[in-house]
């Protein structure tokens, strides 16, 4: 039975890692696929066991859409022009994230560049988030949201 010392809080380790610039996934001990963000079991092959693995935080963009007024978020826009995309980490796993692009005109062209077969590199770019501890409270809780950014922004 899973006693307390056998129940590791995986979500916490993931977010604590992001805040420190470490990107934790979990590798299936049977098929080797990586769960990122991490889960207890493997969704690639349906095996029960995975183990911690530190990942590069670098990958390639697989798809990309720009936000409209329905799905725009001011705190993201405050960082830079952005969109929502699927990122494939260099180690293999794919998940969807916010992707910062630096400039709006870059964002608008990204889907076409992907369609034309361009390989577009991205790297992790955590941003600080804060939410009230409870509704109406002045006390804020902080966490690091994992986003990505085009490599070319820093080039």
């Amino acid at each position: 039975m899973p006693l307390l010392n056998q129940m590791e809080p995986i979500v916490k380790k993931f977010y604590d890692g992001v805040a420190e610039g470490k990107y934790w996934g979990r590798r299936c001990t049977e098929c080797g696929a990586i769960e990122f963000p991490p889960h207890i079991a493997c969704n690639a092959c349906g095996y029960h066991e995975t183990e911690w693995v530190e990942l590069s935080g670098h990958g390639t963009l697989q798809s990309f859409v720009v936000p409209g007024i329905q799905n725009d978020k001011p705190y993201l826009k405050a960082v830079s022009a952005y969109g929502y995309g699927a990122v494939k980490l260099d180690e293999g796993p794919v998940y969807t994230f916010v992707v910062f692009c630096g400039k709006k005109k870059v964002a608008k062209k990204l889907a076409e560049r992907l369609h034309n077969g361009e390989v577009i590199g991205v790297h992790a770019k955590p941003i600080d988030r804060e939410v009230p501890l409870k509704p109406g409270s002045d006390e804020m809780v902080h966490f690091a949201e994992l986003c990505f950014e085009l490599d070319e922004v820093n080039a």
């Binding site: 095996y47 029960h48 939410v131 809780v141 966490f143």
Partner: protein, 428 residues
Amino acid sequence: MVKVGKYARSVSIVGVGCTPFTNFEDHPETKGMSEGEAFGYAALEAIADAGLEPRDIQYFYHGSANPFMIGDSLTPNMQVADWFGTRGIGSVHHSEACCTGYVAMQEAAMAIASGEFDIVLSGAVDLAASLPVVGAPGHMRRDFPLEEMLPSIPMVYDRAYGRPLDSAFGISFDNWINEYRWTYDLSDADIDKALNAVAKSLRRASVLNPLGFYEQDFDQVAQANGMPDADTFLTSMFNPKVTQYLRVTGFETKCDGAAAMVLMPTEMAIARGLDHKVIEILGTGSAAYEGATLANEKTGTIRGTKQVYELTGVSPDEVDLLFINDFFMAGDICVPEEVGYVPRGEAWKYAIDGRFAFDGDKPINTHGGRCNFGHAHGASGIADIVEAVRQMRGEAGATQMKKLPQTTLFRGFGGGQNIRVQIIRTVD
């Protein structure tokens, strides 16, 4: 009266799992545990117990009593699948407050009995000891003070009449034990003594159960408070009556927890040659009475019990173990008589004589029940089933019953008020 039909094929429990019922935030090992992880740990234990891998599960049920308030989520089934390696399979969420865990077994059994699926997981989770920080990741939780919990409780009652007329919340806790007291011409002191005796028996079980909430029995609690014994503590100002009959120890211990079970056709289970006993689900009797309805718990229990005995052909004297959802403890006296587990008018004496304890001759709630094992609302019914299965396999450790039970009856209850009366039996 509804006549319940037999399953189109027999269904059995082949795997069970349960986390500790505790406050995860109070333990450094589990501080930051989210709902998905807790569900995942219970589900993976149940899957392993069944000798399966997550890839073998074809469909799952997710239960939670109040996912909107204490989980910051809607359709939470969508949010737990990845945790136990079942991304992409079909699932459904259901919520019947404290009756959730029993509905979980009924619905999953029907999904298999119908022929739609062969292997189904049914689990439930509630992190009831804390509240989520809305908008923050799942590991961030905050205190859950009583003043924030109390307004949510009447929401299980009818908005038209039961709630605004105040009767549902007011009468539910005591009306059956009050009737019991007058039916048998007992005194307040008799009822108090019986309830305190049940509390002592159940607390002793919780302390001995590695998953249970408490680490001290009532004698130890008394000593810690400078009193000579449990009875002195239980009748002291430290344990006041908070309704006409019920003391603080007669109400649930709210906590975090998750539990799960894996079901499959009995024929398949036997063919697989499991290394433990196969436990067949014989059937479920159902009832639902709004909380302000006169004698809702009693009437629902009578109705559900009649259905399940007629359906299964089981007679009350064949029941070896009884589980009662006792988030308020009056049911521990009233239900054993109503389901025929003990003779009419005798339950209060059975309680005082310790016969309901796990090592007594008529055990109830061998893990300690809601007030002592802990109450993780939607998950608690499945925790009952997990404990029953372990008793029936002879795997209950320090609280193993003297006589290995073959047949267990559950009186599930909750949500103002749903009733499920269910019987499971070891396959020979």
